[in-house]
């Protein structure tokens, strides 16, 4: 987009870059805030249906679809209270820290091939790292509130999130290993094609580890049955007991943002990203080469695809929340340490051996020689062979790991040497 502004519109470089940055930031902000509005409404409707109620019905005409907006206006008008004895600065800052962590993670999250705030070659790692920072706002909130309920909630949250980072990291490593890259764009691109090329169906181990990931993701964003930090039957409201008004709603926005984020991450890592179950655009003969209208349409389609998948993930989380009872803290820890971590480790090892024996998945792996697949890791921009359309448009010289032509032969020889 910046290139377009510089070359076509003729803006100076600095203005083009800042405009691009503003557009990206505002879009991400809207995804979080708008998403929170929609998901809160959806959660109320789903909760009501599961409990055999109707939920909001009147606001905005039918289905109560304006209910979240009305709630938002109510929250804006609420008084901003702070308990006596609270640490004022930390109390005020804590909601923004949670929100910022959620926001930052979205920067590296691609919505389609080019629709990404900042494409990082360690995208997965960045998202997981930043997601872990959200707990810091919660801990600060719990401490600064000068309330026992809040402190209890925050301590539970800290214990839970720190524990669940381990199996979550192991689950995330498996698609990274299969794709040979930590770049989220590359990982999703590798799953292009029919539904069978999704990493979920790559081999039996990835199928199992996906469900481990789902468990850990629900736990890491503090949703029921893992919502011990705000267990309302024991701790009033946990870490946000003392919050009201807009600051409270920031916590909520961060929570719904994280829910969407881990769901989108699941979609990118296991469910093909923006590649639909049926490659419609490919069957229609549309290429997604940058610049032309057809390519833009394809990417828009992919963006919608990803959003649908991520929203489905969020809806499943709501379904789980209203179906399962809350776990005790020892049950939460047992789930993490006795089940999730060993299963994730075993599946990781299994997927590794599968990749050694049959790289490229069950179907394709039997028909493709192993060396061919592995050599693909080192070709193309970003160290990987990207889609064929790209390979045609770029010059035929494969870009190796380094620009230095000497190392290219060396890289090749290493690949052939390695078993």
């Amino acid at each position: 987009m910046a290139d377009f502004l510089i070359n076509t519109v003729g803006l100076p470089e600095w203005l083009a870059w800042t405009t691009t940055a503003v557009v990206a930031a505002v879009l991400i902000l809207n995804v979080i805030a708008g998403g929170a509005l929609v998901f809160i409404w959806a959660e109320r409707k789903i909760a009501a249906r599961i409990q055999d109620r109707l939920g909001p019905t009147r606001t905005g005409g039918r289905f109560g679809w304006l209910q979240s907006l009305a709630d938002g206006i109510k929250l804006l008008a609420k008084e901003d209270l702070m308990p006596e004895g609270a640490d004022g600065m930390l109390f005020r800052l804590a909601p923004y820290i949670s929100f910022c962590a959620s926001f930052c993670a979205f920067i590296a999250l691609p919505f389609a091939f080019d629709f990404v705030g900042q494409r990082l070659n360690v995208g997965v790692f960045f998202v997981v790292a930043v997601l872990g920072l959200e707990v810091f706002g919660v801990i600060l909130a719990g401490y600064a509130s000068a309330s026992k309920w809040s402190l209890f909630g925050a301590m539970r949250e800290a214990a839970q999130v720190v524990s669940y980072e381990v199996p979550l990291g192991m689950c995330v490593v498996v698609p990274v290993m299969l794709a040979g890259s930590m770049d989220l764009v590359t990982i999703a691109e590798k799953q292009a094609g029919w539904v069978s090329s999704w990493y979920l169906f790559h081999d039996p181990f990835t199928f199992v580890i996906f469900w481990v990931y789902v468990t850990c993701a629900v736990a890491s964003v503090n949703r029921a049955p893992f919502d011990l930090a705000e267990a309302e039957s024991e701790l009033v409201a946990g870490f946000h007991t003392e919050y009201s008004g807009l600051r409270w709603s920031f916590f909520f926005m961060a929570e719904y943002g994280s829910m969407f984020l881990v769901s989108a991450l699941a979609a990118l890592l296991f469910l093909g990203g923006w590649n639909g179950p049926i490659p419609v655009a490919h069957l229609l003969g549309l290429s997604d080469g940058t610049g032309d209208t057809a390519g833009y349409f394809v990417r828009l389609l992919g963006c919608g695809n990803l959003i649908v998948k991520a929203s489905l993930g969020v809806l499943i989380m709501m379904w789980i929340r209203w179906s399962l009872p809350r776990l005790r803290i020892d049950q939460v820890m047992a789930t993490c340490l006795k089940y999730c971590t060993p299963i994730a480790a075993a599946m990781f090892a299994g997927a590794m051996f599968w990749q050694l024996a049959l790289p490229g998945g069950l179907v394709r792996g039997l028909s493709r020689p192993a060396g061919e697949v592995r050599e693909g890791w080192l070709e193309g921009p970003g160290g990987l062979s990207v889609r064929p359309t790209k390979a045609v448009s770029t010059p035929a010289v494969p870009v190796a790991l380094v620009d230095d032509p000497r190392s290219q032969t060396e890289a090749k020889s290493i690949v052939q040497v390695s078993p």
């Binding site: 790692f125 790991l401 020889s413």
Partner: protein, 253 residues
């Protein structure tokens, strides 16, 4: 992230022509962002020292480390930046805050630094600063990456180097097909260290069983008959080692 927040503050509502006339184009954005991150990192680092409250210190430390991660991202070292976020900002500080929570009612929450401590810390800090400044000024030319430049190298060479294969930098004078040894040995040494630490932590944190040393000795000797097979010997040694190490804290009690 930073260009976005920074540019949000820009007067975008003004007409474009007016914007063009502003001397913003003359600003080196990379330097500006660098200064922004550096100032945040330094100011928060000073605040860590000056703050009285332990939790506030932790908070400032998080900001300082986060700004350092921002500097890494600015320099194009994305892996290092994410690592900084993951390990320092994430792991260490969650644990630190954890520790603070456990001592929330104790007198250590508010720390008063004595004058002697301040002088000592100042001397150590000044010495470190002198060393760092000297090495910083020894670099002849600092390179600035272009704004928005696509970083060519990926994390793949890093991973391969950890597996023992260096594909990034061929040794000078070596034949081109030669493979430089990577960081496999240091990597393994570090991981074994971490394993030892993990086992030690699990041992220290486990529930203590009250058993007399006598009983352990009897149990160990009776349950492991002298055997010439290697597996039995190893198992017996392990058991003896664990029982003798279990003596230490019990004996102190």
């Amino acid at each position: 992230m930073m260009p976005a927040t920074l540019s949000l503050a820009l007067p975008l509502a003004l007409p474009l022509a007016l914007l063009m006339t502003l001397p913003l184009a003359a600003i080196n954005w990379h330097t500006l962002l660098f200064l922004l991150f550096a100032v945040v990192a330094c100011a928060c680092a000073v605040a860590v020292v000056l703050a009285d409250n332990v939790v506030r210190m932790a908070f400032y430390l998080v900001l300082s480390l986060g700004a350092t991660a921002g500097l890494f991202f600015l320099a194009g070292a994305e892996f290092l930046g994410a690592m900084q976020l993951m390990i320092y900002v994430g792991g260490t500080l969650v644990l630190l805050v954890f520790g603070v929570m456990l001592t929330a009612q104790s007198p250590f929450v508010a720390i008063k630094t004595s004058t002697g401590d301040r002088v000592l810390a100042g001397m150590v800090g000044a010495a470190l600063l002198a060393v760092l400044l000297q090495s910083a000024f020894r670099v002849e030319a600092w390179q600035l990456p272009a704004v928005g430049a696509v970083t060519a190298p990926t994390a793949t060479p890093l991973g391969m180097a950890l597996l023992g294969v260096r594909v990034d930098a061929p040794a000078a004078g070596a034949p081109e097909t030669a493979v430089r040894s990577g960081y496999l040995l240091p990597f393994e040494i570090v991981s074994v260290h971490l394993l030892v630490v993990l086992v030690g932590a699990a041992y220290l944190a486990r529930a203590k069983r009250r058993r007399t040393p006598r009983a352990i000795d009897v149990a160990a000797s009776s349950s492991s008959p002298p055997s010439s097979s290697s597996s039995g010997g190893v198992a017996a040694t392990a058991r003896e080692a664990s029982s003798s190490s279990a003596l230490v804290p019990g004996g102190r009690r």
